[in-house]
Subunit: 196 residues, 2 copies
DNA sequence: AGCAGAAGCGGACTAGCGGTCCGATTGTCT
DNA sequence: AGACAATCGGACCGCTAGTCCGCTTCTGCT
């Protein structure tokens, strides 16, 4: 399940104006998302902010989900790198329990930082765009397989990712007045059932 | 946080035709949801299926969220009763750990049965309609407080409910080929970090 | 350099959504 | 029976994601 070859990385021969427009679209979308929140990121709004026609966006990214996915790639790629080749405990080399804990805390932290984007990109069941998500899922499943050989690792992995999914974090940020430390403690505590 | 007085239970004097229409709307919505899935339940579709005008639905239920909430009340009410006054371990009387486990398994089972509805009613952060959800949250929080006095129970409760949230279950049903028993085992295993 | 054809572009257009509004209708109480 | 308020229906609004196609612009070849 290696890097999944995230799409749209540049066709062999992309025209210069097309490349420039893609960059402008991504920049505009990111700015809108950061400044006005997810509800402000309609395709029309992005097109207007980027100074291109709506057709251009759809030609480039296919759909709203495709654009979201492209935005996600940025920091997901570095997250994947940290897991696959970075230093322990996030990267290889540490015991599975430590890696699982580090992974969950890092994912929480990343999603917390990019909350608006994480919410927008939260994959719905059946979403064929779920490539990045399935990378996370596979990683967790492998760690759980080592930690709990008798369990159904696929199911457990899904439960774990659900516990720290973007909607949950968004609820937390809104309605629960707890520090980051309380959140980290809680995640670790919940994982103790798995990490042993 | 008692039963939250679920709304729309019948005004003091509701005209007979209005009551009949409300029943027809709910019946039609339930049928559409079961037969065609959540994406088929637009307000226009419900109106057509119920044989009433769209205005009637909005007069009755206020909004799409209100209608969803009304649909939810049905089985949520009995679920609340089972928790507040039913026999242990779901109801009062059993140790907190057993109650938490029983609660989670029962919630999974209920949502599994009413998957389409549960998905449609899954509250978004900041949703003022989240009354039924906040009942569940409070219940879990209280149990966690007993089990883990040192922890931030509010945060943990949210994480636990996130792990068995409707989107997670929907993913499971779609993409993971595991029996119900594997799911129950996994839930119990994850909770072991909390139940001790 | 110039040209031809492909690639890209923009924005009018469509279908469908949740939600509003108000003239016409209907039930209810006296 | 009659009057009045509650209720109804569906046209209408603003908005969305996504499509389509005539026009423009870039680029590789000669």
């Amino acid at each position: 399940m290696l890097p999944v070859e995230l799409p749209l990385v540049a066709d062999r021969h992309e025209r210069a104006d097309a490349a420039a427009n893609r960059a402008r679209i991504l920049r505009a979308a990111r700015r809108l998302l950061a400044e006005q929140g997810v509800s402000a990121v309609s395709m029309d709004a992005v097109a207007a902010a980027a100074g291109v026609g709506k057709g251009t966006i759809f030609r480039r990214f296919g759909s709203r989900a495709g654009l979201t996915h492209a935005l996600l790639d940025d920091y997901m790629r570095s997250f994947q790198d940290a897991i696959l080749t970075g230093p322990p405990p996030l990267g290889p080399g540490a015991p599975a329990g430590d890696r699982l804990e580090a992974f969950c805390l890092a994912l929480v932290s990343t999603q917390w930082t990019h909350m608006e984007l994480a919410l927008a990109a939260d994959p719905q069941p059946g979403d064929p765009q779920a490539g990045a998500y399935s990378f996370l899922l596979t990683h967790v499943r492998k760690l759980v397989e080592q930690l709990q050989p008798g369990a159904d690792a696929g199911v457990l992995a899904l439960l774990i990712l659900g516990a720290i999914s973007p909607p949950v974090l968004a609820w937390l940020r809104r309605d629960v007045s707890s520090g980051d430390q309380a959140l980290a403690d809680s995640v670790v505590r919940l994982l103790r059932g798995i990490t042993g």
